[in-house]
């Protein structure tokens, strides 16, 4: 927990990845880039955290009431893919303007295009580098 920052100054990012190593890594990359981070291990948990239950019930705030400024999610996840999660977020009147970044270990052009067409802000290749995440962080405040 960073005591030096006021809550409003630090972007709050929700990071979604089913791989425990990647989750720890993305969390560290984001924290090093001065973000507050919440992690989720799959799409369902992410939606629950965001206040979007299975069928349309929506809250303005998530469980602990703190707004999410960006969502970064892995593409290949069992159950709900990153693309499907992106879709649900874009369909939500409350969350559609939250930028969503998709990460993938595979550089598949059709995959990238379909995500961008669905409204993803960026598509990033894994493993992520600190420079990429810092750039992302910079984009959040401009």
């Amino acid at each position: 927990m960073s005591a030096e920052y006021h809550e409003e100054d630090v972007p709050h990012v929700l990071a979604v990845d089913d791989n425990i190593i990647d989750r720890k890594l993305v969390e560290k990359l984001l924290k090093t880039s001065s973000c507050r981070v919440t992690t989720a291990e799959n799409g369902m948990r992410a939606l629950e955290y965001l206040g979007l239950r299975e069928n349309h019930q929506q809250n303005h705030c998530n469980n602990n009431g703190s707004k999410v400024n960006m969502i970064i999610t892995d593409y290949c996840m069992p159950g709900m893919t990153g693309y499907e999660l992106l879709q649900k977020i874009k369909e939500s009147s409350v969350l559609k303007d939250v930028p969503v970044v998709i990460m993938s270990s595979e550089n598949v052009e059709t995959r990238m295009n379909e995500c961008l067409e669905m409204g993803a802000q960026t598509f990033m290749l894994k493993p992520l580098k600190l420079a990429d995440v810092k750039k992302l962080r910079h984009q959040l405040t401009t």
């Binding site: 791989n19 190593i21 990647d22 493993p127």
Partner: protein, 152 residues
Amino acid sequence: MASVPQLQRQFIEYTTSLHNEGYLDDQFSQLQKLQDESNPDFVVEVVSLYFEDSEKLLNNLATALQQKSVDYKQVDSHVHQFKGSSSSIGAQRVASVCVHFRNFCEEKNLEGCLRCLQQVKQEYILVRNKLEALFGLEQQILQAGGSIPMME
């Protein structure tokens, strides 16, 4: 008992050889750069998670390939995970074998898969031993009152 400069030199030489021999790639250096005072054990923590996760995956792979009717999608899914986490920590050789492994999964080639399982296990054990040796060297340096050299 080696002196701090001797240990530091050993550390640098060992790290360099691990990179030159392809056991570790730049991603491992990225992990080291993320380690700081607020998280001084970051690399060991991530790598420990990797060891735990990898051992589970290897067991799952062995079991999956022993089935009477092999579910290649399931096998591929495990290999995909293994490739992902290996890439994330910079275990380059393990990740490379995973690529071949996935090809055999797509072909539903049991023999190929079994060969790759052996290979990937070997590469994993190799990199695990080397990383443990590296961490051991780090501990020796710290205990002797020295600091870990920054690698460029």
